[in-house]
Symmetry: C2
Subunit: 637 residues, 2 copies
């Protein structure tokens, strides 16, 4: 077997690889963030690279789908398709590099009753004597039992090993940190005023961590990062697929999220003079696949009907068993899974939003690559999962990109002149308004929703999503015989060409929103609900969707606009609540069992509902609350 050198430009990273490796595999092994939405399945076209020189496998049919003839002449190839036959020098264009996500995972902090799982117990012991030679642990146990009426305790093994030293160092006056009145996690030869915990939301794309002082209930740091698994595939199905097609795939995905979390932990503590050993507990939410990959459980059975998880129940595990670099005795609490893809993240949303305490009917939509829906009130709750596809996150869209610097995230179109006003995410964050002069690189999810909604409102596309072939505006252009609408002109972009919304983009958005709408509709039918009292748009993404535009697009059935709210990262908020108040864990266990799961794909009405919901806003359903926002003419089409 031969080995060849490969050098990547502009980074200059290089390595020696076996004959037959793909350029994508080589890039991944070198840690280069080359986009690969489909996980190397040749189905997304995002991993375009330019071969400067080198001996490689010949151009394939699959590549021809993504590489134009002129690109081909310049040396462009798909990195996932091209295999090494000799040394190679490869250039990665900016558009193929994974961008640093602008992470929007701030959570709305509720007033939460503080009742953490770990509490400190200050205790003074009588030193051993000939007449009382009891063992150190027994002595501690008895004293705690007498002073605090605690039951029989366990002690974590590493803590047992240090106990004799700490008792003597503290002159028999120590603080025991006890988890759930059950297990001694640590013993300190001093008073303890601060115990920290970390709430973690593992999103398919973004991971967010909320570092909390368990004693005060305060969130002391919020940090987030891209899920490092993204290089192995953009959505949950491509990650499942990666584990099935690579012998070490499961291990790689498992290690990459844990390595990522260890980095996140370092980031969370860096500004506040803590060490990782100050973190005694983590609460974790994520969809079912993220949950399984975090634990290292093979997710393959989640990928085939009837999609059973390995466990639904919540779980407590030692952080060290996972290799998390926190306190050696720290615990990890995973919230329970509802069913199928409706995972612990949705349970987090539920305990944050508490629909089970409401009288009115509320629809909660957790928007993401996989959409999750919950509908109901205190009497009954139904959940469902929709494969919305990644369009609402900017993938499978011609100029789609993540919510990263350079992404168009707000679009407004003048219905008379068809002139476009848009807003670009700045280098540092959206918040710094001064950065809005940046040139556009692509268009992210909220921009796509805005754009399609506006195209409909302005009559550029009709109810069925068909784009007009002619328009009294140079914004409408014809590419390969099909119309596209120019959102950003060439001089407004950094990519040397205009950014458009294509007919295909509109179709992809319709598929996504149609799935959500159809799901919501089926849930309403099951519960016998005719009208939504309230809609909550959750998700890291959710806080930036414009509720009005979303309803014009028809992401969900009609609802009074004042009762539609974007609540931000409710899943992360749920994890935080569970960290600060153990009562929320029992609430989570209860609600995860109580929520009824509806498998949409086997509902006989699903196809019909889906077809009707693909229209904008809907084929048949009335939208009285859109009167005045959209012309009557359009609504009555």
């Amino acid at each position: 077997m031969n080995f060849f050198n490969i050098i990547f430009q502009p980074s200059g990273k290089r390595g020696k690889f076996q004959e037959g490796k793909t350029v994508l595999e080589a890039a991944q092994e070198l840690g280069i963030g080359l986009e690969s939405l489909c996980g190397g399945e040749k189905s997304c076209g995002k991993c375009k690279v330019r071969i400067i020189e080198g001996d490689l496998s010949s151009f394939s049919e699959e590549e021809a789908k993504w590489i134009t003839d002129s690109e081909r002449r310049e040396g462009y190839r798909l990195a996932c398709s091209v295999r090494l036959k000799g040394n190679a020098l490869v250039f990665i264009p900016e558009g193929s590099l994974v961008q640093k996500q602008v992470v929007r995972k701030e959570i709305v902090t509720h007033k939460v009753k503080r009742n953490p799982a770990i509490l400190p117990y200050l205790i003074e012991l009588h030193p051993p004597s000939f007449h009382d030679p009891l063992g150190d642990f027994d002595r501690l146990q008895n004293a705690l039992s007498t002073a605090y009426h605690l039951p029989t305790l366990e002690i974590d093994y590493p803590t047992l090993l240090k106990l004799p030293y700490v008792l003597r160092e503290g002159n028999w006056k120590v603080t025991a940190l006890i988890w759930m009145e059950r297990e001694i996690l640590d013993v300190k030869a001093s008073m303890v005023n601060e115990i920290y915990g970390l709430a973690v939301d593992i999103g398919t794309t973004t991971v967010a961590g909320y570092l909390c002082n368990l004693m005060s209930g305060e969130i002391v740091a919020t940090k987030s990062m891209m899920n490092p698994q993204v290089i192995y595939g953009e959505d949950v199905m491509s990650r499942i697929n990666y584990t099935m097609t690579h012998p070490d795939g499961l291990e790689k995905l498992h290690r990459s999220i844990l390595d990522g979390l260890n980095q996140l932990i370092e980031k969370a503590i860096e500004d506040i003079h803590l060490t990782p050993k100050d973190i005694f507990e983590l609460t974790v939410v994520g969809n079912t696949v993220m949950h399984h990959l975090f634990l290292g459980i093979d997710p393959r059975y989640l990928g085939v009907s009837p999609f059973p998880p390995s466990l639904n129940l919540s779980m407590d595990i030692k952080a060290r068993d996972l290799g998390l670099k926190v306190h050696p005795s720290a615990k990890v609490h995973l919230l329970p899974i509802e069913a199928g893809f409706v995972g612990a993240d949705n349970v987090g949303v539920l305990i944050a939003e508490e629909p089970y305490k409401r009288n009115e009917n509320v629809l909660i939509i957790d928007v993401g690559t996989n959409g999750e829906l919950v509908l109901g009130n205190k009497d009954r709750l139904l959940s469902a999962s929709c494969a919305t596809g990644p369009a609402l996150e900017g993938a499978h869209i011609k100029f789609g990109m993540r919510a990263a610097p350079g992404a168009i995230e707000r679009v407004r179109i003048d219905p008379d002149t068809f002139e476009v006003d848009f807003k670009v995410i700045g280098e540092h964050d959206l918040k710094s308004k001064t950065e809005q002069t940046n040139k556009a690189k692509g268009i992210c999810g909220s921009g796509i929703i805005d754009a399609v909604s506006e195209l409909y409102r302005c009559g550029v596309i009709d109810k069925s999503g068909r784009m007009q072939n002619k328009l009294p505006s140079p914004r409408l252009i014809i590419v390969d015989g099909r119309p596209e609408f120019v959102i950003a002109r060439k001089e407004e972009t950094s990519i040397g060409k205009e950014i458009t919304i294509s007919q295909q983009d509109v179709r992809n958005v319709q598929l996504a929103k149609g799935a959500l709408y159809a799901g919501a509709k089926l849930l309403m039918k099951k519960l016998g609900i005719k009208k939504l009292d309230r809609v909550i748009l959750a998700g890291a993404f959710g806080s930036y969707i414009d509720p009005e535009k979303a309803m014009i697009l028809g992401m969900f059935p009609d609802c009074d606009l004042k009762n539609i709210h974007a609540v931000g990262n409710a899943a992360g908020e749920g994890a935080t609540l569970a960290l600060l108040n153990r009562g929320k864990r029992w609430e989570a266990d209860e609600i995860a069992k109580k929520v009824e799961y509806l498998e949409l794909t086997i509902e006989p009405d699903f196809q019909q509902e889906f077809i009707e919901a693909m229209q904008i806003p809907h084929m048949k359903d009335p939208f009285p609350h859109l009167r005045g926002l959209v012309s009557d003419e359009l609504l009555d089409q």
Copy 2:
């Protein structure tokens, strides 16, 4: 810092060591079994080596205590005292090599009610469907709960990871191995007819393992080995000392017993076609120091008054947390500790002998380097620990050695001719009578007890232990002005000289037996007992002590000879019982709390009792049951 080469003969082992290392340290690092009873403290004189050539530290005062002038001229040194200043070639004489112990740890198998901690549950599940998409673990849990009325179970993390595969491999019919109706240790895609466990007795000198089929209650293999910690010191105090004087001492002792147990496990399974993964549970007993070193707990506080252990309570821990190579989910159950040095081994003795179920008063003596005593009946039990010293195990005796091939283990002296009849342990085992023609190398504990007892019975030593200066026999010789009695003549030995019992040897035996007797006497006083109904001699050693000789020597107060029993390794038997019947664990927990510990060293009468008990059989106490065995003249001295 300079490094020098050292070569050991006759093995030829060699290595490079830093200037200033002792020859003993070098030998230990090379894994050479050089005797070191005191753990390198220059106080046993057992690590004699001959320097063939080399540049070493000069002869010290301490060495002069152990090396005669003629030996010094031949190049003899103490390996623990001599430090490297250059390269060296060192010869280790046979007498300084650790011998392969003849291990006598057979246990008397009782009829025991079988009630192991781990039971197999065969269970058939409904496969998941769209209408029942419950998670794998929840599904298993529910099925077990329905079929067997089991409570909420935990599942060990590695088992959770394999569960999805096993359920499908077994076509949803599997066997769950459940510990204490609490934790699923493993799930197998087949029927399970055999589950194995290992009962382990970690003695200071010998480690014994009893491999049991938990389903049948049968002991399928009995294996033993020398405790590999022996090279770091012979008794518990020298091992505590080793951990305190070497920065990595605790880790070394901890690792060495675990490595040893992993070897023992391999030995236990080798003949019966099992793998280490077939072992699902271990029960462990050992004295308090062995218990602590097994767990890796610093034993230093056991070495200073009031000698509190780190814990008294029994404990369950994952075998993998200790690095034991058995089933990845296997459990280890450590029996509880009574107090101070009266450890889990004594608890094992108690649950094997069950004095707490007797009406009559029984004295149990567990003979070892540290002697443990229990006295009482169903109403009350007292325990005590005696620092007997290693004399009864053959150390601190001029020609003392362990019960290894070449050791004299039985001695009979003709009271008229003073001729000696002795028996030597054969190469293979005592059981093979054909080996008794072996030449003697030294004298082990039971031989020493026999010899001193016989010397007294024959009038060679008097009640006070003083040896006669003259005797009408060439057996009495004078060495350095002091009398010694020849047990084996030069031509009967393999060491080129006669084997004798010296005056000092008699004194050391008197110290040991005096401590046991005084301890027993104080326990009798505390309980208001005038007369022993029964004496049980336990210990791996115990089964080979001749009860008659032991009573003549005065190891314990007078008792009817027919009520004195040697029961073999009762500690190991207790561990086995606890393995096969979980009820014995609760019995152990109860009795460990109930037994009252008497710290002998702070009893005001101890010194007086000890002085009186040093006489043979005792200064004052009558021994009516020795009438006829020992001349009236001697008894009435």
